[in-house]
């Protein structure tokens, strides 16, 4: 590395000229500014455009409050479910060799490549009135589709990979030596996990949880298909945004959107802290 730094000064041929650097940096800043910062800024500009009083008034709508509650509920169910799944999946895939392992990894990734709309439809076809389990559910008076259970199920579906994907590379890269040492010294399996494995992966785990949470609160397509859009009952925050926006109620729509934008900003801040703590440079794309 030292030689590279010395050479950088000595040999200009491994560096671009100042105007090329300026041009590349300028293009990147304009691209990121126009595509990332401008959309974020416009959310707050419209939400606060009619003043703080109008912003606050948007929260007096009972349907909006019920949408916020439903979104919190969806995240409160989906994140712990996928946390348990992510830890279990990362443990069996990262610590053991077995037949069909790469197939299992591909299966965990599947919800990332399936369109959220198709995921929603799959649940409608299984649990809906015309679906395979529809008649049985109707007989037992259970509503899944166009009701809260369907929303919870599709939210779990779209967020399945997040925590497992963050944990898996780390757990398999760390090998089994530390765990085997702990077990040899008489620790139980559970103690070994809590005292040896968990401290090694805690930042990746936290990062997976916040990404999972952001997606659980923000999912639109899959939830839209199974929700039925019953105001005050089955609308989550993103669906409520759509309803308000299509009603030309721009300030309330962008007010709800600003809450989710703040959640996104908090997610990015926590992610930066986690990366700084974990000391890793760059991150794996999800």
């Amino acid at each position: 590395m030292v030689s590279a730094i010395e050479l950088r000064g000595a040999a200009p041929a491994v560096r671009e000229s100042a105007w090329v650097r300026g041009l590349l940096i300028g293009t990147s800043v304009i691209f990121l500014g126009a595509f990332l910062l401008a959309p974020l800024a416009v959310v707050f500009a419209v939400a606060l455009g009619k003043g703080l009083a109008a912003y606050a008034a948007s929260f007096r709508d009972a349907d909006t409050l019920s949408a916020i509650r439903l979104t919190l509920l969806a995240a409160a169910i989906a994140v712990p479910a996928n946390l348990v799944f992510g830890v279990a999946a990362a443990w069996c895939i990262g610590k053991f060799e077995f037949f069909g392992k790469s197939f299992l990894i591909a299966l965990i990734d599947l919800p990332f490549s399936v369109s959220p709309v198709v995921a929603g439809l799959a649940y409608v076809l299984l649990f809906g009135a015309h679906g395979a389990l529809g008649p049985w559910l109707t007989d037992h008076n259970v509503r899944v589709i166009f009701a809260v259970p369907g929303i919870l199920l599709v939210t779990i579906f779209v967020t399945v990979p997040f925590i497992a994907r963050e944990l898996l590379p780390l757990i398999s890269a760390q090998g089994n030596d530390e765990e085997e040492a702990a077990l040899t010294l008489g620790a139980s399996g559970w103690q070994t996990f809590l005292k040896v494995t968990l401290p090694n992966v805690k930042w990746a785990l936290l990062y997976g949880v916040i990404l999972c949470n952001a997606r659980a609160m923000g999912e639109f397509g899959a939830v839209s298909v199974v929700s039925g859009h019953i105001r005050g009952l089955t609308n989550t925050m993103p669906l409520q945004i759509e309803v308000l926006y299509n009603d030309y109620q721009f300030v309330p729509a962008f007010t709800v959107a600003s809450l989710l934008a703040l959640l996104a900003l908090a997610t990015l801040v926590i992610k930066s802290i986690v990366e700084w703590k974990a000391g890793k440079v760059g991150s794996q794309p999800t």
Binding site: A106, V118, G218, K271
Partner: protein, 281 residues
């Protein structure tokens, strides 16, 4: 554990294999496999003739064409600009670089519906970008160009985040060697750096493309949603479902699912190729 699978695992004293594998398989089956299998099962009831009539209808063909075309355009834009952003973030120092780097992940964190209404407001005829663009005769909102803009937004992090770690690990000695042998800077990039980051950039392209093909939330606000012109395939599924035309919705969904499986397989192969390149590089 009496699992036949237990015999296949490598010998280790670490416990919990049967429990965690059993739970993982049961969970994936219930949440992912059974619902997706139900979609295929439902499509078998339709019958070949009806299935073919729906998936080859001119409206469906227009929707796939738009979804694939716009996703290709957006992923290509991200391929070029994402590689550029990764290069700038790894190689140069400038004010607020760390903040900009953190912001690259915004499309992962910002809900698609929020992105959708924000982009529509920006590019609408009276919006911050829409007004100056309209005076140049460029219309973005409610056109196909708007769909490309939305898909560029949602796919942006993929190429940057796949290329960034490869560039960071790239040994500068190769570039120094090329330079000392008389290669110009552009030649060095084209012949030394670009081949090293190409597999990663292509993986990012494929991930952005896969995301773009299935994307719904950010697109429907900006697209205009006119059948045959600005109606993406996922929207056509929703429209058919709202008309209680389960046959049509399922048929189009099966086509999309098949594409997803092919893309997933392709991306996995690309990632293996890409990580092999990283290790030898």
């Amino acid at each position: 554990m009496a699992f036949p699978l237990a015999g296949l695992r490598r010998k280790t004293i670490i416990p919990g294999f049967g429990l965690t594998l059993g739970f993982t398989i049961a969970y994936l089956s219930l949440i992912v496999l059974i619902p997706l299998a139900a979609t295929f099962a439902e499509s078998f009831k339709i019958g070949w003739h009806d299935f073919w009539r729906v998936v080859m209808s001119s409206r469906a063909l227009a929707a796939y064409g738009l979804s694939f075309g716009a996703a290709t355009a957006a992923a290509s834009l991200n391929f070029v600009l994402g590689t550029l952003v990764a290069w700038v973030l790894v190689r140069y120092r400038f004010p607020l670089k760390r903040v900009l780097d953190a912001f690259v992940d915004l499309p992962f964190a910002l809900p698609t519906a929020v992105a959708g209404i924000a982009l529509t407001t920006l590019y609408a005829p009276g919006g911050w970008f829409g007004m100056p663009l309209a005076s140049l005769g460029v219309h973005v909102a409610f056109t196909r160009l708007g769909i490309v803009i939305a898909l560029t937004f949602v796919g942006m992090p993929f190429v940057v985040r796949t290329v960034q770690p490869v560039l960071e690990d790239l040994d500068k000695e190769f570039e120094e060697a090329a330079a000392s042998l008389g290669a110009g800077r552009w030649q060095t990039f084209a012949r030394v750096v670009y081949p090293a980051i190409f597999p990663a950039a292509l993986t990012g392209f494929a991930l952005a493309f896969a995301r773009g093909v299935g994307e719904y939330g950010s697109v429907i606000f900006i697209a205009g949603n006119m059948p045959m012109r600005t109606e993406i395939a996922p929207l056509l599924i929703v429209t058919k479902l709202e008309e209680y035309d389960y046959t049509a919705a399922t048929s189009i969904a099966v086509v999309m699912l098949t594409v997803s499986f092919v893309l997933l397989f392709g991306i996995n192969s690309l990632q293996r190729w890409s990580s092999r390149g990283e290790r030898s590089g």
